[in-house]
């Protein structure tokens, strides 16, 4: 990666990390109410993937979706506002942490159902193909989703139609408490690409430069009309499944062993060794992002609750599309087939 791209990635990863740390602080203070699933340790994936996307390229996200949302360019204050159930949040307080969507940045939304977004990403990619556009869709999901029927149905459908969709499987080793070794019998989830005759890639998801390079290859593949790609990002969920997880299913040694592979530390090392960026400069970036996150959190906390009258709003769009129906005269197709 070029120096500037790597510096941008470092900044983005810190923004996500700081956001998640603050989200946990808010959870501790019981301001976020129910579960907050944080992304510490996986920041390189959203950062490296979304750096290759425009706002016209869409993503679908997961219950652990803050990182995807931020990397796609979301406003931090409106995100915090949604986590806090405020009326000015991305979903007017109706979604919460697990359901942030932002069409203006090409984010079709986080999803509380494991694997729920994968077929939706396929549909968006189908629409892009029908438009003959150069855009593509990325579906983020975890190792757990790779055992859902929706994953298999969606990969098969995307494969037969050569759709421009990149399936990004964030293998963070655990589905809540269950280790991947207990939930599947393949070494790499990417092996499953073979079953659908699509391109599969195993990527070091804790190394943003590796994610970046792999994503460049994947984007070239889908844009060339060669069909979908399944990228498996090997990573580790540094925090619990959500704030409050007792984590009795893993050892301190295991968690510590991944601390050396922290994607932000790895990126910092690369910047210092390869590009001679000073530690002070990196600290400055981290501090700026820390402040931006705290400012956003503070601003969000001062926002007001949704109007009570808004409870029953937004279920349906009351407007019908402006289409004028025109009669169709069928040509005579008779006798063409059996």
């Amino acid at each position: 990666m070029e120096k500037n791209a790597l510096l941008n990635a470092y900044r983005m990863m810190n923004r996500i990390r700081e956001f998640e740390n603050e989200a946990i602080e808010l959870a501790k203070a019981n301001e976020t109410r129910a579960a907050v699933h944080t992304y510490q340790g996986e920041e390189a994936i959203a950062t490296g993937v979304c750096a290759h996307m425009t706002r016209e390229d869409f993503i679908t996200s997961t219950h652990r979706g803050h990182g995807h949302c931020i990397a796609k360019g979301a406003d931090l204050t409106r995100m915090f506002a949604e986590l806090l159930g405020k009326g000015e949040g991305y979903c007017k307080g109706k979604g919460g942490s697990m359901h942030i969507a932002d069409l203006t940045t090409g984010n079709l939304g986080a999803n509380g159902i494991v694997g729920g977004g994968i077929p939706i990403a396929v549909g968006a990619a189908l629409s892009m193909q029908l438009d003959h556009s150069d855009n593509f869709t990325v579906s983020f999901f975890g190792d757990g989703a790779a055992n859902e029927g929706s994953f298999h149905e969606a990969l098969n459908m995307a494969s037969i139609w050569d759709l421009p969709v990149i399936f990004v499987c964030e293998n963070n080793q655990y589905g809540i408490s269950t280790h991947v070794s207990k939930s599947m019998h393949v070494k790499d989830i990417a092996e499953r690409a073979v079953a659908y005759n699509i391109k599969g890639m195993v990527v070091d998801g804790n190394n943003v430069a590796a994610v970046d390079a792999a994503m460049e290859e994947a984007v070239a593949h889908v844009k060339a009309g060669k069909g979908p790609v399944l990228m498996e990002m090997k990573t580790y969920r540094m925090a619990g499944h959500y704030f409050g997880d007792n984590q009795n299913y893993r050892t301190r040694d295991e968690v510590n062993s991944w601390k050396d592979k922290d994607p932000i530390l790895q990126c910092a090392k690369l910047l210092m060794e390869q590009w001679e960026v000073s530690e002070e400069e990196l600290n400055e970036i981290r501090k700026e992002e820390h402040k931006a996150v705290l400012d956003a959190s503070k601003a969000a906390r001062q926002m007001s609750d949704p109007d009570i009258e808004d409870l029953t709003e937004d279920l349906y769009d009351p407007i019908f599309a402006d289409i004028t129906w025109k009669a169709f005269q069928k040509p005579d197709n008779g006798g063409k087939r059996l």
Binding site: L108, I120, N156, E313, Y316
Partner: protein, 325 residues
């Protein structure tokens, strides 16, 4: 005016929609060259090609989910589930995605998706190909549920549904596909409203889908006995237009609800509750329901015949209601 079948009317509505809006496309199992298991999409493939009329793998979750995704990206997909029983294998995308996304995302997105499917018993298709699952669907906030009872309504309601910016389950009845009635050739829409199919003064029958025809036949027989029956076809379960129903109840004071689905927990329970909530004072007697017994749809001819409410049962029930009250 010419008479066409409900199958032809649905086919015609889809041709109009494809011709009028390039964002409309359809996908489902065997719908292209084969014309669909429902035989409603015949000719569409010939006239609009394989991009917009596409066969899918047998993957109901992906079919509905891809419809949701394409709709979010600006298309107006019509996805087909060959049998409404297959809602089971696609349910997450209906229940948790299509129905909830708009509200959950604060109204920031629309899902102009039509899910065409068919249900109902009477043709010997057995327990997993004959269900009437509308109560389950109508219970979920966020999806329209439309159930046409004839060709004319089907054409107008389908065009209305395709222009709707919200997800719609367009729930056809397999026993109605061949039934013909007068249908204008030009495009028209029917809004989501209840329709008085027959006026009467002694009793109100509230019904929908295939039971509309049977209720009308029952009304004809009862007329010979001097009993005047009003038949209201609610046509859409969500949104539910109760005004004509309540107005009718206030006129007749007696109500019979007829549907093919199992009576227990069926949509008749909701209709009954609303009538008693909003027109209790007008009732001369309790609201009565006719529905199928609480078992899956049986196969044998005589059992299936007993399962689906017959005209004679409607006649008998009305007679008793009038006699005793």
């Amino acid at each position: 005016m010419r008479k066409i079948s409900m199958r032809e009317a649905i086919n015609e509505a889809m041709h109009i929609a494809f011709h009028s809006d390039p964002n409309v496309f359809t996908m489902g199992e065997d719908i292209a060259v084969y014309g669909g298991q429902l035989r409603c999409s015949y000719d569409l493939y010939d006239n609009f090609g394989s991009e917009r009329v596409r066969d899918t793998p047998i993957s109901e979750m992906a079919i509905v989910g891809a419809g949701v995704g394409a709709a979010l990206h600006g298309k107006r997909p019509i996805v087909e589930l060959s049998y409404s029983d297959f809602i089971g294998t696609s349910f997450d995308q209906i229940l948790n995605q299509a129905a909830k996304i708009r509200y959950m995302y604060g109204g920031s997105v629309n899902i102009p998706l039509v899910i065409r499917t068919q249900g109902g018993a009477g043709l010997g298709n057995g327990a997993q190909h004959s269900q009437s699952l509308e109560a389950i669907l109508a219970h979920i906030p966020g999806i329209r549920v439309v159930m046409p009872s004839n060709a004319y309504d089907a054409k107008g309601l389908l065009l209305h549904a395709i222009r709707d910016n919200n997800p719609v389950i367009f729930y056809e009845h397999k026993a109605l596909y061949k039934q013909k009635c007068e249908v204008p050739e030009e495009p028209y829409e029917i809004e989501y409203t209840s329709d008085v199919k027959r006026e009467g003064t002694d009793i109100t029958i509230v019904t929908y889908s295939a039971m509309v025809g049977r209720s009308l036949k029952a009304a004809e027989e009862l007329e010979k006995e001097g009993i005047s029956v009003e038949v209201i076809d609610i046509r859409t379960l969500e949104p539910l237009d109760m005004e004509p129903v309540l107005a009718s109840v206030k006129k007749t004071g007696r109500v019979l609800i007829v549907h093919e689905a199992c009576k227990k927990g069926g949509f008749g329970a909701e209709l009954s509750a609303q009538i008693q909530e909003f027109a209790f004072g007008a009732l001369k007697t309790g609201v009565t329901r006719i529905g199928a017994p609480n078992v899956p749809v049986p196969f044998a001819v005589n059992l299936e015949k007993m399962y689906v409410p017959e005209v004679s049962l409607i006649v008998e029930t009305v007679r008793n209601l009038i006699k005793n009250n």
